[in-house]
Amino acid sequence: MAVTDAGPSRATNTQSAPVVDAEEAGRLALMRRERTLRWALPSAVFLALILLWQGAVTVYEIPHYQLPGPFLVMQTLVEDFGSLAGSWWTTVRITVLALILAIIGGGGLAILFTQSRWIEMSLFPYMVVLQVTPIIAIAPLIFIYIDSHIARVLFIAWIVAFFPVLSNTALGLKSSDHNLRDLMTIYRASRWQRLRFLQLPSSLPYFLGGLRIAGGLALIGAVVAEFTMGSGGQSAGLAFRILESSYRLNVPRMFAALVLVILTGIAIYLVLSWVTWLLLHKWHESALKREG
């Protein structure tokens, strides 16, 4: 019966083939245009803002200790790069370390929570408390109780960053398909097998979503930590450079340091998006759309 159906339908297909082709070509062109616009539009906005900024500075003759023009900022960045690079590296290191700790702490706690309802019930409220307490408010306490500068800064950055990893992963571990869960029960999977073969893979997209939020927060945490804790001697981070430049009214250098912070944030976002794509593009819906 399938064979008799195939005959006429194939015939109509050949007849309408050119139409389908034109349609297809149109869709392809549209897609190509959209892909170009995706980077062209933001670039145009960026250029326009830079020009507007430089124009305003030039026309109104704004002194550079109030608002330096973008070209002066760039120039400062290049000239001071020698001294800024070290601070940049410090900030990047703290951010990455805090993010790694957030992954271990948030992910580990989430797994612990799914293994025992009791532990989850006992601890989760305190995780929320940690999350909602303004970090600035407890900074003086941290200053008293933790001796090492690097530990203080890491601790603050970690507190700021770990919660999205925890809550997303915990949600992901619980949202595995219920039929697959039944299947695991029927096949008598052990607790560990269930975690390894079902819960961890199901939670991966959620975890990665949390990670992308945590990436930005870790950077914010690293900057805030340095603002509140001061610098640790020679290994001062970008936040310290911003403060220091503001005391000296070296506004172009403030802007240069700020540009580095922003670039770091963008880089973290891009790297984490790339990792997400790498891990999910073969199977997960969220990553599929990008391919097309």
Binding site: A2, D182, R188, P201, W283, L288
Partner: protein, 276 residues
Amino acid sequence: MADGANLPAADFAAGTPRARAARPVILSLDHVDKVFGTSVVALRDMALEVRQGDFISLLGPSGCGKSTALRLISGLMQPTRGRVRWEDPQARDTLGVVFQEPTLMPWATVAENVWLPLRLRGKSRAQVMPDIAEALAMVGLTGFENAYPRELSGGMKMRVSIARALVTHPRLILMDEPFAALDEITRFKLNNDLLAMREKLDCTVIFVTHSVFESVFLSDRIVIMAARPGRVIRELAVDAPYPRDAAFRTSTEYVAHCRAASEALAEAMQGVAHEG
């Protein structure tokens, strides 16, 4: 395939099913009740004897407890009263299940999905490669080992799901409306293939369906159920011999069985209406 060797497939192939009573009982439901909460009676006093080689369809309207019966058999829940008695422990250990949805792991390839039941028993992939290949060949998916579920059509996903159920060489397979979500042509094709697979594997099947036609085509016993409370109303035998192929669907015998089953279903339901 060594598992089921004690019952020769030739019995079905020759079209002379051995007298049912002579075949060993795999499991039985013993006056089983299942009550949810305090008042939802999903099953009342269900008795069912499953013998080796049976192809049993549970046929009935939505909510009559068909899925509940399968979940009791698979051990996902316990009966409120009565027992599920297993006479063949090996059938329980190798039990295969197929749900209405394909229920595949989207992050795993076809081969990895089929590997799962054996993997959970600690078998490495290399160790069971031949079993995976055999199960995939059985459902006609050789060559799709490395595809991901999203790359497959609904019918193909269902085939993977069946291959996963077959890979343990089960003596008993439970299927809960496996083809309900598929179009009719695909469903017919899968029905034919399912019977062909069973000829080869010689396993017992309990198959839940809404469709009179499907139940007549596939099974040799149809258990008709009614809802509120869920219970067995009648049992029909479809004594047409296996193998059955597409030609069986157009035979007068098939049509007669369908009419009988529809009438039994309608009659039973009517009787229920008067009772209530």
